[in-house]
Amino acid sequence: MASSDEILTTLKILIIGQSGVGKSSLLLRFTDDIFDPDQPATIGVDFKVKTLSIDGNLVKLAIWDTAGQERFRTLTPSYYRGAQGAILVYDVSSRASFERLEPWLQELNTYATKSNIVKMLVGNKIDKDRVVTREEGLQFARRHSMLFIEASAKSKEGVQCAFEELVQKVIQTPGLWESDNRQGFSLQRGGEEAASESWCSC
């Protein structure tokens, strides 16, 4: 099935969250499989592309990385439009980053143009000493109907899975995306689980 290298669809994914929680590092880990501690702090928005194979279908991801600083937050939301998926990141070693998640969600709900956009919560930096428990993250995600996963850009844990899970969910959401080449897509619909956290086994 993966024989055809035609792209099924192009998806726009956002990464948002406070500055320093590791958004750019997660993205770099996902796209280039490296961790660069010297990566500069993002200014405004940045952008990366990666093609992913989901159930034998190629999906092109255009991932928009945003700067989390207060001042940039007036600039970045205009780039939210048209996004099918959003990854909201916090740092498990910083309670402050966890406690300020709510405003990000509000902003997302205000500016995202697709009402059924798929949202994922990622607790990053699990290689460090955590101050936010997994249960707390899970609860937050459940309350806001988000996917949830913990990860580390440094150790690589959970990163690939986070993106794959998100894309899978987007593809399964009817009306959220449009096929680039109008070919059939082999849908493997997940069960209609009530809470939408993912229990990733990869």
Binding site: Q18, S19, G20, P37, D38, Q39, P40, A41, T42, I43, G44, V45, D46, F47, K48, V49, A62, Q69, E70, R71, F72, T74, L75, S78, Y79, R81, G82, Y111, T113, S115, G175
Partner: protein
């Protein structure tokens, strides 16, 4: 009458039909092909894709020598059968007769009523009362019209039937396609049946029942051992509604609505308006959505005529008299009345016209200027045009178009085009009407407007019906303008103007006036009313965003002017003590773009004087000087419309996916960072990058627990900020100390405003179609829901229409789908909307004519028996319980009487008679008693049938005559 004599298939001998052996092989091939198809059809299970309106239809091509034919198979299936997929063979009801009759004869014996007839894909089923048959039709240039050829084909059919044990007839369409004229043959179970038609245009034939009985008897024999069973149906038509019964939706004339004078309780006053109370649907459409100006319904009655059918389902030849001198068959004596309303296929529907009209602009790639071109160029050149603008805008008060308009708000409508003094041509829209239109769009020019904008655009009417409530809620996702806002009013107004008040010219005229008013407002620093305040809302349509953008610019302009005034009042603001500066977050600041050329020198000159401070940044002190750290006044980010965002995003994407691309992007986006750094430096002389980071990106400042001499926690920049040559260090080193008021503006409102107005002025009709269409379909969908809500019965709005409208609304603007996708989405929505408009109008018309009929019950019955009631929304042949004597019966009589009054056929109502029916249908059946069914020979031992249709100048009969073949 040539060809009117039936070919006697029964006496035809198959074997001596051909002498020519060259045709023999063609003929054999042909017959073999028929056989093959028949056997295919025989065992075929019902496949839903072959079924329409409860009929299985399969078509195949066959050729006889070089002559092409269509060979079609028809079989009626019941809904139950369709659902469980069983085959027709099992569903034949067993009849208690001993002889094994073929199904088409069994059907004659069943007591199933002939009326109302089921919908059918082929008239053969109605003529001969059949549920399964096949038809051969020539597809060559000429039809089968030679008798010899007909015989040849019938003999093929006969052989094919014999060889396949098919128990349904095969028909040949004979003598032209447009005359429904068929011959058929069936052969099964020892019975051969001829299906014959007679079609006469002359009046030589018997048209009364007595004569028809004679014809029937002369065919099957005179000494019948059972009476002839007769069914009769007489059809009466009413073609001109008297005004008492005509339904017309009479929507208000546009300018009557717009010119309504202000009265005490007409407007909604913002103050007394309680946001929580829901308004009635009527109030809502009049004051909140302005959907009153959207026309709805048909121009004339949606029904062109009424057909009354008087039926006598069970008569016998010994009890009824119908002859040229006397008849028992008068409508008043009929035990069974049915009626149908026939749709007027040419009816014009207003809502559909409006939407289609605007959509048709889609292909008009002509600019507004060119549409109006002649009028403008003939009368004035561009220079004068511009100077006229200057003149008008220079002195607003003296140029007021209508005396008495209050200028408190500082706004009045400007008109240039077709100003009577400048133009001889008549304008597309009269100046009086333009005035009314502009007051409708910009009611704030009037101190006491009759249709002011509501204080908020999200009011919902008090809806009572679940279907409407759901529909309404599902329309939330439409990307148009806020309901009842300026763009909404503009779209519905232009939709109406285009359809009823001047077409393309009127659109161009209105648009131009609209743009002139916008320019006027910009020049006069008057905010545009009827818009949501704030930056462009990306969930609204592009036109709404553009106007919001323009309003942002006007807002900036007003604020700058105010600032200027203040400056004049106290020149020394800039040198005031920092502590006295405002603490207000929202205070407006703007940059003067005239003084920034030698920012450098100014920065040096004023090095020690802090400027542009907003407020202290907590308790932080600068690392080097120990001075309190101040948050600088910063520039607001530029408001953006979606098309601009999209263009910027495209540029960012085009920079590539690699590190270099990322760096370029960061540089492009660092303009606001530079502005903030410069403002920070100006507000905090002696500050270093570390200080800036502590305010701007505190998480990149890693603190320890130790305290320095100024009370700051000792700390250091994060690793990523320390990387040599990173952009933050770069930008900091180039940043001068410049307060925002001396910086170059990130958002140049003068330029942006000009861009919007230029863009508005350069639209083609096609562009305008795209800009207005989201609002038009949204308003149309709400209009439909509103009308459904107002009905006295529950009307089922299409469940997926809101979703389709939402999808369509997203096809326009900057991100648009392909033309074909948009077109498909539009067709889907338009056909749904028109269907609703048509059906709601039919309901209204029906209820107007027959207030005593419970339409809900009828519609429900139709839902359950689709196959008998036809494809239209209202069922055909609605049964009138109680017939002539019922209320409905009396209403129908009244309708007929009034029609004759209209056409002056009646002196007084007492003279009324239904008169001659337009059409009469008789079915004559002979059913032999069981005693002789197996004994005798000839026609009299088998059931026989003849149906006749009699009109003024046409007689058609269809006979089903059977003989036994096995008895000799």
């Amino acid at each position: 009458m040539k060809n009117s004599e039936p070919v006697d298939v029964l006496s035809m001998d198959v074997d001596d039909q051909f002498e020519d052996f060259t045709t023999a092989s063609d003929w054999e091939q042909f017959t073999a092909r028929l056989e093959q198809l028949l056997s295919e059809w025989l065992g075929k299970p019902v496949e839903p894709e072959n079924v329409t309106n409860n009929w299985v239809v399969i078509q195949e091509k066959v050729t006889f020598s070089d002559f092409p034919f269509n060979f079609s198979y028809y079989r009626r299936v019941t809904t139950a059968e369709l659902n469980d997929g069983s085959s027709i063979m099992e569903s034949m009801e067993p009849v208690n007769t001993s002889p094994s009759y073929p199904p088409y004869i069994l059907r004659m014996l069943s007591s199933e009523p002939d009326f109302p007839p089921c919908s059918t894909p082929c008239p053969v089923s109605e003529f001969f009362s059949l549920e399964e048959f096949a038809v051969l039709t020539s597809t060559a240039a000429e039809p089968v019209h030679k008798e010899s050829r007909l015989k040849l084909l019938l003999s093929s059919a006969c052989i094919a039937l014999n060889n396949t044990t098919c128990n349904f007839p095969i028909f040949i369409q004979y003598h032209g396609w447009n005359q429904n004229y068929y011959y058929g043959v069936a052969e099964s179970g020892g019975v051969r049946t001829a299906f014959q038609m007679i079609r006469l245009k002359s009046v030589m034939i018997p048209t009364y029942l007595s004569g028809l009985i004679d014809v029937f008897k002369s065919k099957i024999g005179q000494s019948l051992s059972a009476p002839i069973i007769i069914t009769a149906h007489f059809f009466y038509n009413m073609n001109a509604w008297h005004e008492d019964f005509t339904y017309d939706s009479f929507p208000p004339e546009l300018f009557d609505v717009l010119k309504v004078e202000h009265t005490e309780n007409s407007g909604v006053s913002g103050e007394t308006d309680k946001e929580s109370t829901r308004v009635s649907i009527n109030q809502w459409s009049q004051f909140y959505s302005q959907t009153t100006i959207i026309p709805f319904g048909s121009m004339d009655d949606p029904f062109s005529s009424l057909e009354l059918v008087c039926g006598w389902p069970t008569l016998t030849d010994d009890i009824v008299v119908d002859s040229s001198t006397y008849t028992d068959l008068e409508p008043e004596n009929s035990p069974e009345w049915h009626f149908s309303l026939k749709l007027d296929a040419n009816a014009d529907f207003r809502l559909r016209d409006v939407i289609e009209g605007i959509w048709n602009l889609n292909t008009e790639y002509v600019s507004i200027k060119d549409v109006l071109g002649k009028s403008i160029e003939d009368n004035e050149d561009t220079a004068q045009y511009t100077s006229a603008l200057d003149r008008l805008t220079a002195d607003p008060v003296s140029q007021l178009p209508v005396a008495g308009i209050n200028t408190v708000i500082g706004s009045a409508h400007r008109r240039l085009l077709y100003s009577p003094s400048l133009y001889s041509d008549l304008p597309p829209i009269s100046s009086e009407n333009i005035d009314a239109s502009l007051r409708f769009l910009f009611p704030d020019a009037d101190p006491n407007p009759s249709l002011p904008y509501p204080s908020s655009f999200d009011r919902v009417p008090d809806l009572k019906k679940d279907a409407t409530i759901n529909f309404w809620e599902n329309l939330q996702g439409v990307k148009s303008a806020p309901i009842g806002s300026l763009v909404w009013r503009l779209a519905t107004l232009i939709g109406n103007l285009h359809a009823y008040n001047g077409g393309n010219m009127a659109v161009a005229h209105m648009w131009t006036e609209f743009v002139l008013e916008l320019r006027y407002r910009l020049e006069k620093s008057t905010l545009i009313c009827g818009l949501e305040r704030g930056a462009p809302n990306s969930n609204s349509c592009l036109l709404n965003q553009k106007l919001q953008m323009l309003n942002c610019c006007i807002e900036k302009k007003i604020a700058r002017a105010e600032k200027e005034n203040e400056k004049n009042v106290s020149e020394d603001v800039e040198f005031a003590e920092p502590e006295q500066e405002s603490e207000d977050d929202d205070e407006f600041f703007d940059c003067d773009d005239t003084i920034n050329s030698n920012a450098n020198e100014i920065a040096v000159a004023k090095f020690v004087k802090p400027t542009g401070r907003l407020r202290k940044c907590g308790r932080l002190r600068l690392l080097n000087t120990g001075e309190p750290m101040y948050i600088p006044i910063t520039q607001d980010p530029a408001p953006l419309t979606e098309d601009v965002v999209e263009e910027q995003a495209k540029i960012l994407v085009e920079l590539g996916n690699d590190a270099e691309g990322s760096e370029m992007r960061a540089k492009m986006m660092s303009a606001s960072l530079l502005s903030d750094m410069e403002a920070f430096k100006a507000a905090n002389p002696g500050a270093i990058l570390e200080d800036f980071v502590r305010w701007y990106s505190p998480r990149d400042w890693i603190e320890s627990d130790d305290i320095d001499k100024f009370g700051n926690k000792i700390g250091e920049l994060s690793a990523r900020m320390k990387v040599p040559g990173n952009l933050w260090i770069d930008v900091w080193s180039t940043a001068q100390s410049v307060p925002v008021r001396r910086q170059k503006r990130l958002f140049d409102d003068t330029r942006e405003a000009e861009k919007v107005l230029h863009w508005m002025g350069n639209q083609t009709l096609s562009d305008i179609c795209h800009l207005l269409f989201p609002c038009i379909v949204h308003a149309a969908a709400l209009k439909v829901a509103e009308e459904a809500e107002k009905l006295s019965l529950d009307y089922q709005l299409p469940v997926n229409l809101p979703q389709q409208v939402s999808q369509l609304s997203r096809c326009f603007g900057h991100i648009c789908g392909s033309a074909s996708e948009t077109n498909a989405a539009k067709n889907l929505v338009l056909s749904s909307l028109s269907r609703c408009e048509g059906e709601i109008t039919q309901i209204r018309s029906f209820q107007h004519k027959f207030p005593s009929i419970d339409l809900t019950k009828i519609l429900k019955a139709k839902q359950e028996h689709k196959e008998t009631y036809g494809p239209d929304f209202l069922p055909k042949h609605i049964k009138i319980e109680g017939g002539y004597r019922s209320d409905v019966g009396k209403t129908i009589r009244e309708i007929f009487i009034k029609e004759q009054c209209v056409s002056h056929l009646l002196e007084s109502e007492n003279e009324f008679k239904f008169g001659k029916p337009a059409k009469r249908v008789f079915v004559l059946k002979y059913i032999p008693p069981k005693s002789i069914a197996n004994e005798s020979v000839g026609y009299l031992c088998l059931p026989q049938r003849m149906s006749c249709l009699v009109k003024e100048d046409l007689f058609v009969s269809a006979g089903t005559f059977s003989l036994r073949t096995d008895l000799g």
